[in-house]
Amino acid sequence: MAKLTLPIDEYIRLYGPHISDSPVSGWENKPEPEKLVKTHCCFCGMQCGIQLAVSNNRVIGFEPWEEFPFNEGRLCPKGVKRYMQSNHPDRLTDPLIRTAHGFRKASWDEALDLVVSKLQSIQQKHGNNAFAMMSGVSLTTEKSYLVGKFARLALRTANLDYNGRFCMVSAGGGNKKAFGIDRTANSWVDIPKAEVVWIAGSNVSECFPTLNHYIWRARDCGAKLVVVDPRVTPIARTADLHLAIRPGSDSALNQAILHELIAHGDVNQAFVDQYCTGWEELRDSVATCTPEWAAEICGIDADLIRQAAHLWGGAKTSFLLHARGIEQHTKGVENVLSNINLVLATGRIGREGCGYGTITGQGNGQGGREHGHKCDQLPGNRDIENPEHRAYICKVWGITDEELPHKGKTAVELFEAVDTGEIRGMLNICCNPAVSHPDTNFLRSCLEKLEFFCVIDFFMSETARYADVVLPGSLHEEEEGTSTSAEGRVCRIRAAVPPPGNAWTDTAILLEIARRLGREQYFPYTDNEQIFNELRVASHGGTADYYGITWKRIEEEMGVFWPCPEMGHPGTPRLFEDLKSYHPDGKFHLYPTPYRPSYEMPDKDYPFWLTSGRSVFHYLSGTQTRRIKFLVDKFPGPVCEMHPALAQRLGFVDRQLVVVETRRGQIVVPLQVTEAIREDTLFIPYHWSEKLAVNQLTVRALDPISKMPEFKTAACRVRAATAAEAERLRSDYKNLRIEAGTV
């Protein structure tokens, strides 16, 4: 059974996170690099080009890659310090098997024998679907495709899902409904050509720092900036209009904006009539959605809504961007559609300077969500329940329809099935739900119920502590492959060094498990390029069509934008230039998005809004960034932002320790009193684990379409921490800064 067999402090002492702050060579003896390897950052969907400096098979530093066209050498601090994850003292280099007191090292044979025997025994007793797989999109596109095929053909389970379910599936859901394709509609070069840049629910400055340059280039040319966010983020600080709405009120705001566009004749009627469906229904749905109506729901001034509508309505060119702030809701898909409606109503899409896009959050959040990583998906962004789609993939994979599982459970549903005993075993790669899953107290109880749990990771993540077997996989810089950036550009990821010690590449681990399961005939690859070439064929004819993209082309052209359906096709930086969607009818689909409340609304017991997000210094569950001293020094642990007016009302002062509570759990945090947040809303970033995880507080309620949990709103209350609570927090905080080599 997957249970902790050591106190948490002991796991930290043995496996970290420890912080490390110098190149593996030390500063004094840092050698000249033998080579600079052109690759991409392992963090975030920008996929900035970077050169890793290598000496003696070790990554010893970095050098900006100024020729790469997206970022021209620009990097965020995570990218700059990323190389310090390589050769990190916490790096797992041997397979581990859990004992009554932690873990012991094991040979690959012993560890894999155990994995395969447990897997087979669970599947024989409870059926194939009782063994599930969870994955993540920090993996390359090759590995994402391989995981999709591995789960269906080697594990023969329907139950595969991935951490994009916690990230941006609502954007994908909305994009598919409106456009029939799940990709940002333009390359970022259209941003500087826009008269108005509209950013809804994205802390661009902290989550996508290098994208700021494009927004500023637009402003250098006189563009106006509208930011919709409950917080004054660094980008919101400079906005021409900042709409600091209540968390979860986005669709109401957008309904009112549309109401104003209609009232002032700012709708592009010719475009809507000729190229869209659903206009009358949408128009009628906002008939009573006045700015005053929305102002009440959104908690902002009605005039501000009018000004924003006027700015949007009067623009000739524009770019609308959104991210997790509108997507991580039980109405995430509706929020996305309500933003798309503003784009389509003005017809500003498919041409220069007229753009729309979700800003994908994870490193390969785009490429990793296209080729069968999701429970309902097959390569090329095909539908696993569509008979034609199934037939095509069956042909590529050389199997019959009976051999291809059907739709499985989504991530949260998958853990709920662990809770009910329907799922008994799990293989987890590249995912740390102990931090990133909502309601982590529930999640941990699920992990404890697993009869067998195997984790593939390069560090001992908080999730891996629960594993029966931990297999040491590879870092981003240890395997060849590709990723696809948030703008749809397929990029080449290069191996700078081999995995250290007894660690294997993730690909080698999956292929060996498949072999031991007797399924090697479906996985005949001798290198990762062969996987990509199979993916090209498997994606051919789907919306995410990679057929014309080769590794060689990517290298020569510094990336190729999909769809690229034929050899010699130039790729597609800008979608919809023919003003046709990817739906069979070729039309853009408009949907009414009537406002409805969030799953949990503040009440007398829990009177405030709680929202969560990222810091610029950390990435996702922090498994990597919480091990790099510079990043930890700048942002060691969670803090709670609170407006001074609320702090005064409650009798709190800056830096005081408070307890924030929801119906699911509580967190002790230092306050950061700042005017840069709404008076009724608290904000806590989510990168930490256990007692420092804001996800102890978040709700498991899901969007009905995308199955995205509602990370962005919960009802909370707050009180002063007791002396005992403060003491425990001090101890937890101290654990965040243990230097490598000091224990």
Binding site: W27, G79, H213, W216, T233, P234, A647, Q648, A720, A723
Partner: protein, 217 residues
């Protein structure tokens, strides 16, 4: 004056673009010559009110106050207008430079007993590369290039390099980007402006009595 001679170009700072990410600090520390120690910092202006941050880096004054105030003659400006760290054999770590610099840039390393500061990434810029900070800055708050390049890229603003701190006038090698029509940065700390410009601290909170002693980290 422009110091764009030889391989060297000009350095431009646009404070309003700073997003506080500290990428400049992270990258500066990577330099071979100062081994993990950054020569640039990012200050928060008024964290209780705004996320505004500003990169603080040597402005390389034409008449460097730090050098003029150095009793040991340890700080030198070279022919390219770059003001260097104090020369190790001469520096007496007296802190005069720290106290005199109107921008608050030089800092004494109390272990090495030496003033170290930004030298415009001399090892990179002298061979035609950009300084590390301006190469990585993701928002364009730091820019290295020619005046012509920045004029073409940023028509809404212009560079200035003249400053007035009270009665002290200063010209710097580095430029800051300001709106058109501004020809000088004025920091006039006379009594009148102090009284009108300083924001008073927020009133002490606590309308309700805390039930027990407040806890802090």
């Amino acid at each position: 004056m422009s110091a764009s001679t030889g391989p060297f170009k000009d350095f431009f700072i646009d404070f309003q673009r700073c997003i506080g990410c500290q990428s400049c600090v992270a990258a500066c520390a990577e330099c071979h010559t100062h081994r993990g120690v950054p020569m640039i910092r990012v200050d928060r202006v008024d964290p209780a009110r705004s996320p505004q941050t500003v990169p603080m880096v040597c402005m390389h004054c034409t008449q460097p106050t730090c050098a003029n105030s150095c009793p040991a003659d340890a700080i030198k400006k070279d022919e390219n207008g770059i003001v260097h760290s104090a020369q190790k054999p001469k520096c007496i770590a007296c802190h005069n430079c720290e106290l005199s610099c109107p921008f608050g840039i030089p800092q004494i390393d109390d272990v090495q007993l030496l003033m170290q500061k930004c030298d415009l990434c001399f090892d990179r810029t002298s061979i035609g590369k950009k300084p590390m900070c301006a190469t990585v800055c993701p928002s364009g708050a730091l820019f290295y290039g020619t005046k012509e390049e920045i004029a073409a890229l940023r028509p809404q603003s212009q560079p200035v390099n003249r400053w007035r701190f009270g009665r002290q006038q200063i010209e710097t090698r580095a430029f800051v980007m300001v709106p058109h029509g501004v020809d000088e940065m004025r920091v006039d700390w006379d009594e009148e402006t102090v009284l009108t410009q300083i924001t008073l601290p927020a009133p002490e909170p606590a309308t309700t009595e805390p039930t027990e002693e407040r806890q802090f980290l």
